[in-house]
């Protein structure tokens, strides 16, 4: 049983890694039992949990966090290759990467991916991103929903928001000056493409769909029209 779980000390507290094997219910029970065995060691600890490729939803993560909290352990990060788990952790306000020890903070997942390939991959988010949420991806990001003030989208490729973009958007994050940002309502608090940066001017009238891109060295936004926008 004990090889299901490995515990390591890191700068930020404890890093607990659980194997991919077995159901989440059993694994979390084993983890809690292990903590109960040496309760004093764990009391007051900050814990980062690495779950590998496991897909765990927000409700289960939330329950684990509360159960750890009951034992005086504070769960602050969940590391996973599974986008479901990463999304769930983020939604709960947990970190999804360790600071500075991982080489890049620009993209998730952690698995090795050819940068060229990743660049063409798109991530689709099918809900509104509320304040505090952050979606980062080496490729394109598409959001069906709003990006609220206080939320951010960072993409190596393009960003398309089928909704209102009112947070922070950074496209072409690895330096691609051809990246674009599109939204049905383009009103970001901050917009970046490659290394250029811009903020929204005050809106006049009702919002219309727009695309922002770099033209003549500057970020400009243009109303979307079916003609003349073909690349």
């Amino acid at each position: 049983m004990s090889d299901l779980i490995a515990i390591k000390g890191i700068k930020e507290g404890l890093l607990v890694s659980v194997s991919d094997a077995g159901g989440w219910g059993d694994t979390s029970q084993v983890l809690l039992a292990r903590i109960d065995q040496t309760a004093d060691f764990f009391k007051g600890a900050k814990l980062a949990l690495a779950v590998g490729g496991r897909a765990i939803n927000a409700a289960d993560l939330g329950r684990l966090r509360d159960a750890l909290s009951d034992r005086g352990v504070s769960l602050w990060a969940v590391l996973s290759d599974s986008p479901l788990t990463t999304n769930a952790a983020q939604a709960l306000g947990l970190n999804v990467a360790l600071p500075a020890t991982t080489p890049q903070t620009r993209s998730v997942p952690e698995k090795e991916v050819d940068p060229e390939e990743a660049r063409d991959e798109a991530v689709l988010v099918r809900h509104t991103l509320r304040s505090g949420r952050s979606v980062r991806h080496a490729g394109h990001v598409i959001v069906i929903g709003d990006v609220n003030p206080g939320a951010e989208v960072v993409a190596g490729g393009d960003i398309v928001v089928w909704g209102r973009l009112r947070g922070v958007a950074q496209a072409g994050a690895s330096g691609d000056e051809n990246a674009v940002v599109c939204a049905l309502d383009l009103s970001p608090t901050q917009l970046r493409i490659a290394d250029r940066i811009a903020t929204s001017p005050a809106r006049k009238g009702d919002p219309k769909p727009e695309m922002a891109r770099i033209k003549n060295g500057q970020i400009t936004a243009e109303r979307w029209s079916p003609k003349g926008k073909a690349e």
């Binding site: 927000a58 409700a59 509360d66 909290s69 939604a91 709960l92 304040s131 505090g132 709003d146 003030p149």
Partner: protein, 271 residues
């Protein structure tokens, strides 16, 4: 009849959670409901002061959780209303003294004896917040019509949605209608545009709130207070009544727009 546990939270501090908890509790109790309030702000208690019960404290929530007192011993009965009780927070401990399952247990012990358990939340999103959300059947989110308060409220909505306690219902507090008309304050529509959750109450800025707090007699007891009236309306909506929103001004257009925005919402939000 088993109680409904309602947590009142906000993210940002100072927007009116404690005032809202006290006033909604008083309004419900005045309508004959059996109400108990919990002050979830361990270490910085103030629900007792806002309710004017600060000099009756013997035991507090941490005493109950740690077994030094029974629930009944820690409950302070408000003598002004038939069935209104308060369990105060501890002042000399901190949020780590209580865990989410402690709170769930306390609320389960309270459920059979009351109609409503109202929990006042601390500011922030750390353990204190999670403690008060854990037992909640319904979360009310208090915000002010200003950018940072709304942003924090949005974060809270995201967090409680993730924990499947969402979406919560909104109390928009400290609205100054003249400033909204001038364009110097976010309107209710502006706020609902971002938060996109059902609205359960709009509380106008009202000097009586401070006066009531000075006296320890929540404004919901005072007929002359507009804020008090707005809190009484929230209590009615919580009970399932449809109560039209108070006219904060004479402009019909505002109300009609608001009514249209709320029309598709399910009945339970009060409409």
């Amino acid at each position: 009849m088993t109680a409904k546990v309602v947590t009142i939270t906000s993210g940002k501090g100072g927007v009116g959670k404690t005032t809202a908890t006290a006033n909604i509790a008083v309004a419900l109790a005045a309508a004959g409901e059996r109400v108990v309030c919990l002050d979830g702000d361990i270490g910085l208690r103030n629900l007792d002061v806002v309710m004017g019960l600060e000099n009756r404290i013997v035991y507090d929530l941490v005493d109950v959780v740690e077994g030094r007192a029974r629930l009944r011993q820690a409950m302070i009965k408000d003598k002004r209303l038939p069935e209104l009780y308060l369990i105060p927070a501890a002042q000399t401990r901190d949020k780590a003294s209580v865990s989410p399952s402690d709170m769930i247990k306390v609320c389960n012990d309270l459920r059979p004896e009351f109609d409503w358990v109202l929990i006042d939340s601390p500011a922030g999103i750390e353990r204190g917040f999670r403690n008060v959300v854990a037992p909640a059947d319904l979360v009310l989110i208090v915000t002010n019509p200003d950018v940072s308060a709304v942003r924090d409220a949005d974060r809270i909505v995201g967090l409680i949605e993730a924990e499947e306690k969402g979406p919560g219902q909104l109390i928009l507090n400290r609205v100054k209608i003249e400033m909204v008309k001038r364009g110097d304050m976010l309107s209710t529509e502006d706020v609902l545009d971002v938060l996109a959750i059902p609205l359960i109450g709009i509380i106008p800025e009202d000097e009586n709130i401070l006066v009531s707090s000075n006296r320890g007699a929540p404004a919901a007891m005072d007929d002359k207070s507009r804020a008090g009236q707005a809190f009484r309306n929230i209590a009615r909506r919580l009970k399932g009544e449809e109560v039209p929103f108070m006219s904060l001004e004479d402009n019909k257009g505002f109300l009609q727009k608001l009514a249209a925005r709320l029309a598709p919402r399910p009945n339970r939000s009060g409409g």
